[in-house]
Symmetry: C2
Amino acid sequence: MPVMAKKKARVCGAIGIDLGGTNVRVGLVSAKGKLIIHHTFLTKQARNRSQLLNLLIDYILLTKREARRKGYAVCGVGLGGPGPIDVERGFVYSFTNIAGWKNTPLKKILEKRTGLPSFIDNDANAMALGEALFGAGKGCRYMLALTLGTGIGGGLVLDGKLFHGSHFSAVEIGHVSVNENGLPCNCGNRGCIETAIGNGYFVRDAEKRLRAGQKSLLRKWIAEGQKLTPRLVERAARKGDRFSQSLWRQAGERLGGALAGWANVLNPERIVIGGGIAGAGNLIFKPMRETLKKKAFPIAAHSVKVIPAKLGVDAGIIGAAALAFSES
Amino acid sequence: MPVMAKKKARVCGAIGIDLGGTNVRVGLVSAKGKLIIHHTFLTKQARNRSQLLNLLIDYILLTKREARRKGYAVCGVGLGGPGPIDVERGFVYSFTNIAGWKNTPLKKILEKRTGLPSFIDNDANAMALGEALFGAGKGCRYMLALTLGTGIGGGLVLDGKLFHGSHFSAVEIGHVSVNENGLPCNCGNRGCIETAIGNGYFVRDAEKRLRAGQKSLLRKWIAEGQKLTPRLVERAARKGDRFSQSLWRQAGERLGGALAGWANVLNPERIVIGGGIAGAGNLIFKPMRETLKKKAFPIAAHSVKVIPAKLGVDAGIIGAAALAFSES
């Protein structure tokens, strides 16, 4: 009687790719959202689209081989990229800060060259899905995620699926005007919430008020050569600097006012907030939650919990893998 | 051989109830959204909830009998009411302007007493669904509907189903602030779009500017005893009155600015606008569309058509019946 070859049972995993203007991260994520393997390389290592595609394919195939050795079967590839994408066709219209990607049928290319089902979405959506399936939104049916960085990105996850809108451009939540007479925004509108609390505006506002003669610990630190960043304002606030605390309070109140409107429209169970600015914790979360409770409809305010994102720096890669788990 | 009784083939219809503070309308609606039979009675005819319930049941059973005679089989009852409702349980939390309805298990009562599957939602949602299935939103997958009246109501229909949010309070779109320093709103927030273009505010704004000495045909008409209403301002605008035209333009631009934000978040294919204020046609639609195109993201702006509602005064009753068609 022939001896049967022992076949090791494999568990399912997905390859996630977090494609950014500075770094590209490629990794294997388990079906429970754990990052098992990961690689990082500099985006600039590739001089054009074709070189970057070759690198992506090499890393996918490398990760696939490593996955097999660790007992994983790769069920698909997910990629989150910085720009507008036709999610159904996996077609990249363009990428911000990565030249030469205009009109790239990325899904088709990846599937042809790796043999793996591939799913493409923008990075904010990927992160939102990651938080919904494996992070701070786990177990809830209606989750809105925001990333507060240079800009403000967002994603809405309904019953475990991303909401894309009719032409895949939904949840551009940084560009809802909260003040029709406010500062002009890059997008052409005025008073977008991004102009009120995006990174750049946060710093600009601080500079303006310091120049106007506000007393603050920040003056000393800046005179000593430190750069004015949200992180520096956070440190000063934690040391009791009133001015810095008031900057955070203002940012929190503004964001809370905007969240009140979105809670009235979307009535989510959770609003998950990540990105640099969210790192300030209660300095921004406390005034934000208070303002939301005060300004939203009672039912909407009581329905929703506003909590920090959980996945941190791995959000992009885990979220990208989540695209494959959600669709495959 | 016994003669088989001839059974007439029946087509499916639903009974729609548009329950308002002034009138109640009950009717039979065909599966194509045509109003076949309808009855109206004054809400005040009933002195309390129990009397109003009895009237509703009587009219439902009457309509059901008439329906049979016309060859329709009634597949269900839908009711749109003025207030917050737990849609899953068909439970009325309260009705605005109709006393005594706090915490009414309306679905249960109707089903027990009529034997027909019943579906309850708020009136703005019912109207939105009616427009989506049978009116201006027909054939589109992502439709946002607005009703501009004393307040501003809204409904979002995705793939033929209403979006309710986690606690059935979604799409309270009149209460998104477009100006954090704007007028205080009844809801507790400031600068809600309702305070910028709701009926009352429209009139208040006109009065204020007339008192400030603005030249206008309206002065003469008001002196002659006519009441200042949006309709009167519309008539003056159509007669070439510059002041009245500017009031409509301002309302259109404000609403267009708000629509730009919602288009960026919801990325709908169509925005359907009904209610009294929308009756002004191009006086408000033109500046609204122009502002939307200017202020929304290009993809979102190009995705969306902003069009008037089609069902007019029958929107409530047809929309209510649509609740039964959509769920049964």
